[in-house]
């Protein structure tokens, strides 16, 4: 790997990311499957970085899942997006900050469509007016939440309690960065570092002391790919895609995977369990899987947030070996305690992948 060559590509793909006053928009699925991440993001922005970030209780899904599975027509999704923009205008914000990569792709695609086909926008202005009597303006800045953490990576690192370093060996942790397809593959200049050698997560990992590993299938889809998953009969595609990636990264012995997309997080985590149960194969060390973390969790961990407060016990692949490697202080007995100390139901122990309950 020629490091300077990669830096040159990174320099070619830098995007504008707002500095403050963010209008935050949630992902449909993250609050269920990764409940702590969005919360931690808001806490990092407000409490650690002192930024103004606002979310409206009235905002909705972008309908991206429906759009990509062809049940929501383009006109409909454009109008829903326009309504979300209208709420932002009403709240007095200009910097749109979605938490989901699919949404980020949808917003990017629609803004590009309006740019190249102004008649589409005229149609949507009309639809929104008829349906809701609302007006909207396009955001001044559109940045995914991982873009924002990338922008403030040095500020976060300056306040960090831990580094992405193996406490025992003193060596940087080896990290697989996986970028959601809809982040930059459609519009490479809208993603930090472009589509082929994205910098957005690699930058975070390197700033926090870790080392990004490059493996042959790094560009490949995580396995979510709406059509591969939504219909049960197609799920073989989904799990095969993930398996292909795990097999390709396994020889590099990654300590964890970091992703910036709700779907990628979910599938790379859950399919490791399914593959272990189907094929009795695990891809991590000592019968464990490779932990899959969100960028918010990674930032939260180095800042010293409690892993259980961040919801990391909800992972299918156990994160405890990773926490021990980094040397995070945590209380194993609180893994399945709720926010008020109450007992949460214990998960069933899987048969072929280690998970400490």
């Amino acid at each position: 790997m020629i490091k300077d060559g990669k830096k040159k590509v990174w320099d070619d793909y830098q995007k504008e990311i707002a500095d403050d006053k963010f209008y935050y928009v949630r992902s449909c699925i993250r609050q269920t499957i990764w409940p702590g991440s969005e919360n931690i993001y808001l806490r990092i922005l407000k409490d650690v970085l002192g930024k103004d970030i606002y979310e409206s209780e009235n905002h909705t899904t972008c309908t991206g899942i429906g759009y990509h599975s062809e049940v929501v027509p383009f006109e409909t999704i454009q109008t829903v997006v326009a309504r979300n923009f209208s709420l932002m205008k009403e709240a007095g914000y200009e910097n749109y900050n979605p938490s989901c990569v699919t949404s980020f792709g949808i917003y990017t695609e629609i803004l590009e469509t309006w740019h190249h086909f102004p008649d589409e926008k005229k149609k949507v202005i009309n639809f929104l007016k008829q349906a809701t009597n609302r007006d909207f303006v396009e955001p001044k800045n559109l940045a995914h939440t991982s873009d924002v953490l990338f922008k403030f990576r040095n500020e976060i690192a300056a306040k960090a309690k831990y580094k992405l370093i193996n406490k025992e060996t003193g060596k940087p942790l080896k990290v697989v960065d996986h970028i959601g397809c809809h982040y930059a593959k459609m519009f490479p200049n809208k993603g930090v570092g472009g589509a082929e050698y994205p910098q957005v997560l690699a930058g975070l990992v390197e700033t926090f002391g870790g080392e990004v590993i490059d493996y042959p299938e790094r560009r490949h889809c995580c396995g979510f790919g709406f059509r591969q998953y939504l219909v049960k009969a197609n799920r073989g595609y989904s799990i095969s895609a993930s398996k292909k990636k795990f097999e390709s990264m396994e020889p590099f012995k990654p300590d964890f995977i970091i992703t910036n997309c709700p779907g990628c997080n979910y599938f790379m985590d859950r399919w490791q369990y399914a593959l272990a149960e189907m094929e009795h194969k695990t891809y991590g060390e000592n019968g464990y899987g490779i932990p899959v973390l969100t960028y918010e969790e990674v930032a939260g961990l180095v800042l010293g947030f409690d892993p259980w407060e961040m919801g990391m016990q909800m992972h299918q692949v156990d994160v405890e070996p990773l926490l021990k490697k980094i040397g995070v202080e945590y209380d194993p007995s609180k893994k399945f305690k709720g926010a008020n100390g109450e007992d949460l139901p214990l998960p069933e122990k899987p048969n072929h992948i280690n998970f400490s309950v």
Binding site: C221, R227, A241
Partner: protein, 111 residues
């Protein structure tokens, strides 16, 4: 039926005099990039579905050009419409749109 121990063989040749080439024309009228393919295979090389099943966009287009409509239509159903091939095509063929057109044409051209 008398069993002679042999029988006339089915003719496997592409007979362009008899081939039904209307689907290709119908698609090209709606998306002329259909005509631009140079059969380089970049689409299939990058195809997510094609890694796990025998799906080839290039072959599908070729079936249409040879009038093998059922092959093309069956083939089109294997695509997951992810659009990766659009990024790889050196001739800017609007691959995803062509798959969608083949599916749309399915009703009209079913033999």
């Amino acid at each position: 039926m008398v069993d002679f121990g042999y029988a006339p063989l089915e003719i496997k040749i592409h007979d362009l005099d008899k081939a039904n080439l209307t689907l290709g024309e119908w698609i090209a009228e709606r998306d002329e990039t259909f005509k631009h393919c140079i059969a380089c295979g970049s689409c299939t090389a990058t195809c997510t579905a094609g890694k796990f099943t025998a799906f080839s966009f290039r072959e599908m287009c070729h079936s249409i050009r040879r009038g093998e409509l059922m092959e093309a239509i069956t083939e089109s159903e294997k695509c997951m419409l992810c659009g990766k091939c659009i990024l790889a095509c050196p001739r800017n063929v609007n691959t995803r749109n062509i798959v969608k057109l083949v599916r749309k044409a399915n009703q009209n051209f079913r033999v």
